[in-house]
Amino acid sequence: MNKTANINNVFDVSGRAMAAQMVRLNTIASNLANASAVAGSSEEAYRAVRPVFETKYAKNAALSGMSTIDTQGIVKLRREPEQVHMPEHPKADENGFIYTAAVSAEEEMVDMLDANRQYQNNIEVVTTVRALMMRTISMGK
């Protein structure tokens, strides 16, 4: 979907919202996948990523009140990885430390539930409005 295209109907609104929630679910999947990754230095260690959402208003938003959501970018969380002393690890640095990914699995799971629910809500809206449109088309028959 074109990022600069205008928002004309509920399909644009909910479609983009679902796309944004999908980005969120993808970042959560990446975070969870890397939750047990280790690195040889603090800089190389994985840090959890999060999407930044912003509201995107329709061109005639003052009249129509329509707005949807856009992913502005993905940011790395400023969290320090945990230092673990494990000299026998092949990735350990000269002091015998390895650095675990700065990901909180519990936090990611809660975020996943929320993203999942938001996604479902948007599907529900589209399904309902679509049914209404179909009924409106057959008006007077």
Binding site: S14, T55, L63, T128
Partner: protein, 127 residues
Amino acid sequence: MQKIIDSLSLHASSLALRSRRNNILASNIANAATPHFKARDFNFEEALNKTQGKGTLAVTHSTHIISGNSITAELGYRQSLNPSYDGNTVELAVEQMEFSENVIRYQTSLEFLNRRISGLKSAIRGE
């Protein structure tokens, strides 16, 4: 012909406004996770009155014509019951309730229109 339009216009405007409100509520639901987003809505009753030429616009002379018949609605901001920490005023439960109510009322207007149309049709056919 004016009379036929008159018999349909109330529900037609109602349908247009309900559809617009659906779009606004869909936008609110879409933005449920955006920080600082303010939920919007409009007063349906007021907007419908306006389309029927019964707006709040005051007339000072009996020959003045009240300009109505426009499908416009003044948008407001919803007051949240439990303000959230990130400045977002969308409450999913509230929006979902409003949305489902709006959908039901849309269907009601549609049903009324259908009945009117079939009534007119049978009158035209003379059955």
